[in-house]
Subunit: 337 residues, 2 copies
Amino acid sequence: MKWYIEKGQEGDVVISSRVRLARNLKGYPFVPMLDENSCKEILAKCKEAAKGLNLSYLYMDEVPVINRQMLVERHVISPEMLNNTKRRGLLLSRDEQISILLNEEDHIRIQCLSSGLNLEKAFELANTVDDTLEEALEFGYSEMYGYATCCPTNVGTGLRASCMLHLPALTAGGYIDSILKSVSKLGLTVRGLYGEGTVALGNIYQISNQITLGMSEQDSIQKLNKIVMMIVEKERDVRKKMLDNNADKLADRVWRAYGVLANARLLTSEEMIGLISDVRIGVNMGIIYNISPEVVNELAVITGSAHIAHICGEDNTPQKRDVKRAEIVREKLGGTK
Amino acid sequence: MKWYIEKGQEGDVVISSRVRLARNLKGYPFVPMLDENSCKEILAKCKEAAKGLNLSYLYMDEVPVINRQMLVERHVISPEMLNNTKRRGLLLSRDEQISILLNEEDHIRIQCLSSGLNLEKAFELANTVDDTLEEALEFGYSEMYGYATCCPTNVGTGLRASCMLHLPALTAGGYIDSILKSVSKLGLTVRGLYGEGTVALGNIYQISNQITLGMSEQDSIQKLNKIVMMIVEKERDVRKKMLDNNADKLADRVWRAYGVLANARLLTSEEMIGLISDVRIGVNMGIIYNISPEVVNELAVITGSAHIAHICGEDNTPQKRDVKRAEIVREKLGGTK
């Protein structure tokens, strides 16, 4: 089962939690300075070291662009990795909870995802992966600075923890800017849906820790956890206010979105994002009773442009993709045939 | 069964056919000059004469305004009769195919409705009613000019025949103006949904004959019938072109309208009219498979502002009416609860 169709804690607001560990092998320069042979050696060593984890291996330069785009839509690889594939590898578990990016910014980036707010689980999983790899590999590490990383912002724990939050009420209510400002002051970073430099499509925000030096992994994760819980409570408050203020209006908005999704014959990916946001809040507030949050999460992934283009194959015009997207959505929601 | 939930000929374009006969009693002045006593006499005489027809009688001045508005929405009385109720009466059959307006513009106006394009049936019914009344009453009539009517445009046969047409394709395609111009040149009149002086809401047009003098009833009806059939064919042509041109786009439009109707929690009467027009074309073109044209006709009537206000009773704010309208629509369409 993919991680995103599991029920998660605080799943009404938090879509997913992710922990990433950056590691580099001792005895090799950082990625930008690596020669071809060293790159190959690192890929081979890491593959070998990960053997016990039951991951599939992809050599990114051999992965068709459409499949790479799908990996971006599934939050497995970064948009950066979409375009730079040379000598890079990916190790991926079947449920997509574990991915290891090889020769991306660092030699090794362990990424673990879990559904809802569960940074501990993701961290535990990442640690297990880290330990397994460390049995076979020696990482660059100093007592003084911690793990060596290519970019100095990651030096120390090499850890980055993040949560993906759905904040439609805070956004609509105009509270979001001041909240994001406070979050920044607390040393966290906020980004839109697909990571750095993108806007918050569908009211989804990614909040992550930035401090890797002078703070333990546990403290870092607990800090993020605490701040996320504060935002969750605020979002719930404003949702409740929306409901108290005009329950019919809110119900109308979310049910219309459902009605369009369950019946439209053409859906662009842009429209999808807004409709899913409305349906998501409807489901998570108990207004929409006939679909589960897991279905919404799944829809968000499987209707991405690359996923649809992949299904369409050769038969691939913009309208045909929109027809196919609408078809998949109706089927998933039990809409009209 | 109400006339509007019967299956009608050419029902994909023609919603209803109506024949109206204007009659005045011999020995009385026209309505504007009638004194109170004569008014009462006429009401009593007509009631008596119509006894065999099994109609219910309403003295309009005693009918609450909300119920009068409902009669307008059901096309039983004219908007004019909504406000002028003094000394006026209405005889109405249970299925609403027959209505007799008393002391409106003329002493007697027999109106017969039938579903789809069926002017002959409406005319036959009107004749039966006319014959029944004439057994007991003497109408003003001259060999030279035919039936006496209050307004000179009705003198002669006293007949007005009309059809209500749904012309979304001709309207969207921009053909409607030239067609309506031609229709006018042929001596017919075109009006919007609720008769004279209103615009064509929901792409519904009422086309009626205007010539009452120097033409037999049969000729007059056949002429209207022929012209309506020409418009029906043109509308079908353009619908087919829309389908050939972009079937997905058309399907998307009509299914979205269905999706909103089956799921919205707030529906204004204005929005309703547009949505019903889209759903109507979807149903009549065989795109929407899960509801019948009769349900669409019924929806158009039972969601009128007065109908909803009547159901809401005391509990009657604009939003509550919109909530109730949406509730009724969802129930009728088997939408979400």
